[in-house]
């Protein structure tokens, strides 16, 4: 409470969030602490700022360790045992909590919280016993706190005898649990992810899409309860798939983007009335559409059917070694006036932040 270091800590947080001293942002590092929860290994993200120093390069020269092992064995033990049939122990199974990560992400990107909009917002109310106070019914007495206060009082007043510890509560020692009413907005929202899986999308591109979609998913889920996700993949034809498949699938062939938009339109019309649902569309592609005429079809599909009913249409183009990558230009040209349309380009993993930031900057 009121530690001197809090000031330094707050200052550090502000730098990390990019509010002050933007020049330091480029030295931001992320490392992790490895922890253990039951059988699972968890990773706790730690942020740091590593100001430059003269230092040695890679540690290819190795070091000195201690323990058993023959030359050639891995240092961290992993497969050193017999035949290596056991799973390596050092595998991270989960991250700390998605919640926390999304929180960090939100803080860092300064993402505004997405306000549930429309009149169909349902707000649920529930009581949460999270507080503490000095009055209340005996049934809610917080024994540990009460005991601690009594103990502290007795020690301070010199009544406490360690040889014959006897703690007697007084009225003023008593602490009670108290509740707060938590209002949590509950909104209906659906996200439809569309991904181009044509031959030109390589593993690298898919990895980018996977990461970006993951973060968008995490972020939206944090802000909405009861969120639904639908996944569409397309080459010249579009099909709906489940989440697993969406991130794994590998197909070949040409690209007809309109097929995906048409399917999205069907899904929305059949299941999600725009008056009841917040609808988010995200489309990831390398922007290499098969024909100009199909691109035009896409635009008319968007303007006539999709855009009127969705909160947002995010188009994210990943850089690819093949193809023209022209679709983003088409979108710019025809849909420039549409507020719900946001586009971004992702070339490397570093761009993912900026891309997500672009998508959510306005708090749609």
């Amino acid at each position: 409470m009121g530690l001197q270091i809090d000031k330094d800590h707050q200052r550090f947080r502000k730098i990390v969030k990019g509010k002050i001293r933007k020049d330091l942002r480029k030295f931001l590092t992320r490392s992790e602490l490895l922890g253990r929860e039951g059988k699972k290994y968890i990773s706790i993200p730690v942020q740091g700022i590593d100001t430059p120093h003269f230092r040695y390069g890679d540690n290819s020269d190795g070091g000195v360790g201690k323990g058993d092992g023959q030359p050639g064995d891995k240092v961290d033990g992993g497969d050193a045992g017999q035949g290596g049939t056991q799973e390596g122990q050092h595998i991270l199974e989960v991250d700390v909590s998605l919640e926390e990560l999304a929180e960090i992400l939100g803080e860092e990107l300064q993402l505004p919280r997405i306000e549930p909009k429309g009149k169909h917002r349902i707000t649920s109310q529930r009581d949460k016993y999270s507080g503490i106070r000095q009055t209340g019914p005996e049934s809610l007495r917080h024994f540990k706190r009460t005991f601690r206060r009594a103990l502290r009082r007795q020690i301070m007043s010199g009544l406490y005898n360690p040889d014959a510890p006897r703690i007697i509560f007084e009225r003023r020692d008593k602490m009670f649990r108290s509740w707060k009413t938590v209002l949590s907005p509950q909104s209906n929202a659906v996200i439809i992810y569309m991904m181009d899986v044509s031959g030109s999308m390589g593993d690298e591109q898919k990895e980018l899409v996977r990461l970006e979609a993951f973060w968008i998913d995490a972020w939206l889920r944090k802000n909405y309860q009861g969120i639904e996700s639908r996944y569409i993949v397309h080459d010249v034809r579009a099909g709906e798939v489940d989440r697993e498949t969406f991130f794994r699938i590998r197909e070949d062939g040409g690209t007809r983007i309109s097929s995906a938009y048409r399917l999205a339109k069907d899904i929305i019309e059949n299941n999600y009335a725009p008056s009841e649902w917040n609808i988010y569309l995200f489309h990831f592609s390398d922007g290499d559409n098969s024909s100009e005429s199909d691109s035009r079809d896409c635009c008319s599909l968007l303007t006539e059917h999709l855009l009127p009913s969705v909160n947002m249409f995010g188009y994210c183009q990943v850089a690819s070694a093949y193809g023209s990558g022209n679709f983003i230009n088409v979108v710019h040209e025809h849909l420039n006036d549409e507020e719900a349309v946001i586009t971004s380009r992702v070339n490397t993993k570093d761009d993912i932040y900026d891309s997500i930031k672009t998508f959510f900057a306005a708090g749609r």
Partner: protein, 522 residues
């Protein structure tokens, strides 16, 4: 902020201090304080001190320590400050036996601080000094604004490792002789033509001291004198911080902050130089005192858990506590059994070596006191640092017993793999990791490079290249201070490269005949 030390613990501290003194430890008066875990994290983030100047990196450290604590990944049991009196902190939610162990451990550290020669030049009033630094920096913050001060601190921190820890022990010539005296002596020497004139009879003088040779010598001497004057610095200077402090165009307040950071870097340097010994010594003593004197039977399990946790090793990382205590015990054992000296070294019969001096080893409950081994480790703790400690006392037997190995990255898989258990290799690797705290040696070679006031630094290559990206970023930071182009001469993949930052862009060029030479070279 601190809570009063509970009476029971204060009593224990007295008892333990008494045992420690009887064992020969010699320490400053030691003040124990009890802290909550938040407070402990603060103190630890502040490098052991209750008050430091404001800076975000303490907040960063604090956040990390808090996370470690909250997720149960690490616990700071002990914190002790090299100061007279010594301050040590105990964590209030520790068990009683933990407190006892920590107290015994702390006395080991205090003794080390007081008696190890590498600490002999450190400021023993550092608590006050640090608080003063805090006040001074705070005053600059009030006057010039947090942003400006913080930026200055950040900049200076990027070369805080460029100091010369040995310089604390140097006596400068200037202190011995005033510069006027030296100049006078030089002048006399030059004017009298006293350049190695040999005594000779007048009729032989022409032959013994040929006038041409004398003239040549005189000219050479004069040239040298002028060159030395032009050379700046006169010889490669390792204390880059000092060079910048004296020569960079800094405002007064900036210079003051730079000197603060430099002073603190020097204060912490011996702790970096003696990590293994210091922790080993403290662990040796908590173990000796606890198991011989103060451990209650009921506390045994908890003590063992604490002790083995402290000394636990994980693959790929050497635990300084473990390495230190084992090596000290090995030395003690070797000296108790006479396993040192030419006779022992010459013996190459393994069986004899194993049995060497076994009958001499002292027996009894309190093994060490007064034994030659104990005497030896007291001497070691006074005179050595980690580098000399390992260099002198690491033996093949020890390496084998401790199962040390050398590992490196397998180029094929990128995984770290055990390479071998070769003693020379292991020793070389360990010494390399410890030398200069595993920091590259950087020297100022020229403060007026190309006669244009540019700064020329050089990396003295000792086997490993420096990291280029960070090197360039650091140059940019140094430029902020020097305000003229800065250069770094480094060897990358056996190629001499000159990295330059001129305020706008950073460039690099291969160093060949064309590139002007700096005033000094290695």
């Amino acid at each position: 902020m601190n809570q009063p030390l509970p009476k029971a613990i204060a009593e224990q501290a007295e008892i333990i201090a008494e045992h420690a003194r009887r064992e020969g430890l010699d320490f400053y008066p030691t003040i124990f304080e009890m802290l909550s875990s938040e407070q402990m994290s603060q103190v630890a983030a502040y490098g052991g001190f209750p008050k430091r100047y404001p800076h975000w990196r303490f907040g960063m450290e604090y956040e990390k320590l808090r996370k470690q604590h909250v997720y149960g990944l690490g616990r700071i049991y002990e914190m002790v400050i090299n100061n007279d009196p010594c301050y040590a902190y105990l964590l209030n939610d520790n068990m009683f036996v933990d407190h006892k162990t920590v107290i015994a451990h702390v006395y080991g550290h205090c003794d080390f601080f007081k008696n190890n020669t590498w600490f002999s030049r450190t400021n023993r009033r550092m608590i006050d000094e640090m608080a003063n630094h805090g006040t001074r920096v705070q005053r600059y913050v009030d006057r010039y604004g947090q942003e400006r001060v913080e930026e200055a601190v950040d900049t200076f921190l990027s070369f805080e490792n460029l100091i010369d820890p040995h310089s604390m022990f140097m006596r400068r010539e200037a202190q011995v002789q005033s510069s006027a005296q030296i100049e006078q002596a030089d002048k006399d020497r030059r004017e009298n033509g006293d350049v190695g004139r040999y005594p000779a009879k007048p009729y032989m003088d022409r032959y013994i001291n040929p006038p041409e040779k004398l003239r040549e010598d005189r000219e050479a001497l004069q040239k040298e004198a002028t060159d030395a004057h032009v050379r700046y610095p006169e010889r490669p200077q390792r204390d880059v911080m000092l060079f910048l402090l004296h020569n960079a165009p800094l405002e007064d307040w900036e210079a003051d902050i730079l000197s603060i950071i430099r002073q603190e870097a020097y204060y912490y340097a011996p702790q970096g130089q003696t990590k293994i010994m210091n922790e080993g010594w403290a662990s040796y003593w908590h173990s000796t005192i606890m198991t011989n004197y103060v451990l209650e039977a009921s506390e045994l399990i908890d003590y063992c858990e604490h002790h083995s946790g402290t000394l636990a090793t994980s693959p790929g990382r050497l635990n300084p506590y473990k390495l230190g205590i084992e090596l000290l015990r090995d030395i003690e054992h070797r000296w108790n059994t006479g396993r040192h000296g030419p006779e022992y070294d010459a013996c190459d019969d393994m069986a004899t070596r194993r049995e060497w001096g076994k009958d001499k080893a002292p027996k009894g409950r309190i093994v060490g006191r007064g034994s030659p081994g104990r005497e030896k480790i007291y001497q070691v703790r006074a005179l050595y640092n980690d580098v000399t400690f390992l260099d002198e006392f690491l033996t093949p037997e020890f390496v084998e017993e401790q199962k040390l190995y050398h590992y490196r990255q397998d180029p094929a898989t990128g995984k770290m793999v055990v390479v071998n258990r070769d003693f020379d290799q292991i020793k070389r690797q360990m010494l390399f990791m410890l030398t200069n705290h595993a920091q590259p040696y950087i020297y100022v070679m020229d403060g007026n490079y190309k006669n244009r006031g540019e700064l020329y630094l050089a990396h003295s290559h000792t086997g490993m290249d420096i990291e280029i990206k960070f090197g360039v970023e650091t140059l940019k930071q140094i430029f902020k201070v020097w305000k003229r182009p800065v250069h770094l001469h480094a060897r990358i993949d056996d190629d001499p490269i000159l990295f330059t930052f001129d305020g706008e862009q950073s460039t690099q060029q291969h160093i060949d005949e064309e590139v002007p030479k700096p005033a000094n070279e290695f």
